[in-house]
Symmetry: C2
Subunit: 280 residues, 2 copies
Amino acid sequence: MMMTPYEIQCATEIYAVMNEVSTREIESFAHELVAAAAAVVLPYFRRPLAIENKGKQHFDPVTEADRATERCLREMISARFPRHEIVGEEYGITTGSGPYRWILDPIDGTRAFMSGVPTWGTLIALYRDDQPIFGVMNQPFVDERFYAGIEDVWWARGAARRQLATSEQIELHGATLFATSPDMFSAVDEWPRFQALSRAVRLTRYGIDCYAYCLLAAGHIDLVVEAGLGIYDVAALVPIVERAGGVITNWQGGKVSGGQVIAAANPTLHAHALRMLQNS
Amino acid sequence: MMMTPYEIQCATEIYAVMNEVSTREIESFAHELVAAAAAVVLPYFRRPLAIENKGKQHFDPVTEADRATERCLREMISARFPRHEIVGEEYGITTGSGPYRWILDPIDGTRAFMSGVPTWGTLIALYRDDQPIFGVMNQPFVDERFYAGIEDVWWARGAARRQLATSEQIELHGATLFATSPDMFSAVDEWPRFQALSRAVRLTRYGIDCYAYCLLAAGHIDLVVEAGLGIYDVAALVPIVERAGGVITNWQGGKVSGGQVIAAANPTLHAHALRMLQNS
């Protein structure tokens, strides 16, 4: 079960007292991390960059931009919260001794990054046990930040800030569906299911990684259905989608932790899309 | 045959003398158009927007944002150059009496626009007979402009400006390939050919309309292969790709005027990709 905002706040406050830091300080630290990550990653964007393939069966690129950004984030977190666990895409798990876990994806959308497309993002989440305290997606080239905190969920760009709220689209035939790539689905099982859903919606588009979940939270699109994700791909996006009014689960309707993911603007649309995925 | 830059300059200068405007004034006017289009289109982006379907067989959206932007451009051009022909995606052809033709796509990537994704662009081109004088792609939300003029070809953002130059990637197995969507290809003939090419390259990505050709001109990606385009989708992109060092043709290797398009970073890569498309 998801914690209520009140329960999250209680848990966070207990933690803060124990650690002699306030929730405000924790949130403020989150934005320090975002700013530091942006300063590291941006000089690499659209510059010549060595690209390694860390995939065994398919092309799975990683660059020094991913690694340098994650190292920066890990160093800042370890210095400030030495007992917290850290999970990152590039450097794995640093175990901790408490209930708190940071989940990092320095560049979600490395393929977009290496292609010069400004739809990648830096993802940072803090969880207490299995409950998100906050999640943030930052796209520093366009200068857009999507943030789900303890008290609010917002989009910001420069001085502009707006509360995030999902769309009221409840019918598949009026919905806009996104996935990062057709190649992310298994050919035999997942792709036919996705295609059945795709045929039922108004518009299907590909290509924008974490940006899609954020545009769903902002009410611009209605569905994101993906597969083959890691925990670091979704951890920061779960609170952004949920606190904006959306629903995000796996393809069985259960808690999402990577793998197959379905995010919908509201519970009704989620139920329609889930039924289509399961019965195809 | 393509005109040489010298021939283009001669033609433009003859025209300018005849019309008592300088080439500098024509180029300056192009950027006035870009700024005016941005002022009209931006207030519509990520705001509630009525979306009409102008497609008969498939979803082909058009919005008031497309129409208002094109009206603005047409009015400015007609006032300044009343004898020039104007071709636009939304309002068709206004015939002229000379060799000059403006080709406009107020929002290339309307599907991205309506989804809140900042990868659409305003495309403006000026042709003399069948030769491009200049072409410009402007993405006003991200604030990026890609311009191919009489003397230079550049990318600009704020005060930053860089010359555009395509990549030196000559092998398919190291190339990055883009197309806007798998849905743009005919299932029987085009999709199998595209898939054969996709299997030969390092990375295939979908989703970014005119942005892909501009990223190719800037050297970040190596191939764009699409189908079902209109003349307004490509007219501004042809000089941007060619003057940055790339090659852009139809799938038969001939002059591109919409329909099937292949753009490559250099002649060698173009020949490899064309052979793959034709022999699959």
